[in-house]
Symmetry: C2
Subunit: 244 residues, 2 copies
């Protein structure tokens, strides 16, 4: 069997997240329907990341196995012709048998966009969180620097999650301004449930003066109550999944 | 009566254009409903430009008269709280009695966005026209330069239009590339019906080698058949209306 890797982008606005659900429309469902149409038989996919309802992706990665001989470079065109226009396959390639979209990933990069215009910028209203109050970007950058590293990030995990380890290596956490937006970029070997949105909510509290910039005590607390609120999903984009 | 000028942005995807229609939802209808809610009585507006179905605006301008004493700077907040989220008032100011959104305008600026990525960029699918074939940007820039000036632009007007004069002063026509998109910017004292979309369709024919870059003969022909096709509405944005 060939092992095919797909890179895809989607607008998550109208989906109840990536992962299959019995009673709601998901990206995975639309993808597996399109794969069945193109390849002629049911195909189960494996994704690098399960994005939540309303979260977008520019570089989600999945893999699946098939006996089909469709050349890899033709697969995006074939799938895009049957997929809804809010899901786009941007690349396809054949991988070694042991490639696994999730377990082979070395790191994931998420971006969170904040719209800082006085009134919401209408064309990005589904892709950015509009904030009217002033933010001290310098303080948010100092706060971000206090979070980078390998830590137990339990404080930044939605309560009720169930994982064996809550230690993650946050390799990069950047806060930048561009064209009336603020972009928070987070790269880690993996993320806990809602982690980027809770980091964003906490950095926003720093930015508006509600919280000290040093977030080391928040990490050390190992308690969801120590961190800030969960920022809404629409500002979040899975930017890239990195492999060796 | 006070004469109020509003600047507004909208996503035209779900509207049958700006201007009121008896059997279709338009931006004007939504605006006048919101004005009635906020000001308590029916208000008729005058717009700088009647954008077509599917066309967007970042700087549309309207004016209306009212006896209300709501301070101008509060009007955007009041209206935005009752408008749908695809229409946003970005500014309001009180103008002299003779200000007219359409007749006082000195020039209008439209931008047309073309998505040149190999596969459509999903988050801008409603705001850019995706083109897969290669384009010679340098040739398109040379072609644009042959169009600038005061001319009879009848060749670039949708057939069936009815205006007293088809002479317009095209002050600027620029073709630029940025981040996988091409942006065509057109500024004129006024535009004929579908003019920017026909200019775009003609420039695209130059860019893919189907047409000579010198567009002077196309202008001189004074015939719609001499120009290229009408590019689809979704790539077009009314960027700005300029006043003295």
């Amino acid at each position: 069997m060939r092992n095919i890797k797909l890179t895809l982008a989607y607008d998550g606005t109208n989906y109840h997240g990536f992962q299959l659900q019995s009673n709601a429309v998901t990206v995975q469902e639309k993808l597996e329907e399109a794969l069945q149409t193109v390849f002629g038989s049911p195909i189960r996919i494996t994704a690098a990341s399960r994005t939540d309802a309303g979260v977008h992706a520019l570089g989600q990665v999945i893999n699946f196995r098939t006996d089909s001989r469709i050349p890899a470079e033709r697969i995006p065109y074939a799938l895009n012709s049957v997929l809804p226009d809010d899901i786009v396959i941007t690349a396809a390639s054949e991988m070694p048998a042991d490639f696994h979209a999730r377990f082979s990933a070395k790191s994931k990069v998420y971006c969170y966009f904040i719209d800082r215009a006085p009134h919401p910028q209408v064309l990005t209203r589904h892709y950015a969180y509009h904030i009217r109050y002033p933010l001290d970007v310098g303080l948010m950058q100092k706060a971000a620097a206090t979070m980078v590293g390998r830590h137990d990030f339990r404080s930044f995990m939605a309560s009720g999650s169930n994982v064996t380890s809550t230690v993650r290596h946050l390799k990069r956490l950047e806060v930048k301004e561009c064209n009336g937006y603020m972009k928070i970029t987070a790269e880690a070997d993996g993320f806990l449930y809602n982690m980027v949105r809770i980091i964003t909510g906490t950095l926003l509290e720093v930015g508006c003066g509600k919280r000290d910039y040093n977030l080391e005590p928040v990490i050390k607390a190992c308690s969801r109550e120590a961190a800030g609120p969960t920022a809404p999903p629409r500002g979040l984009v899975l930017r890239e999944v990195k492999y060796d």
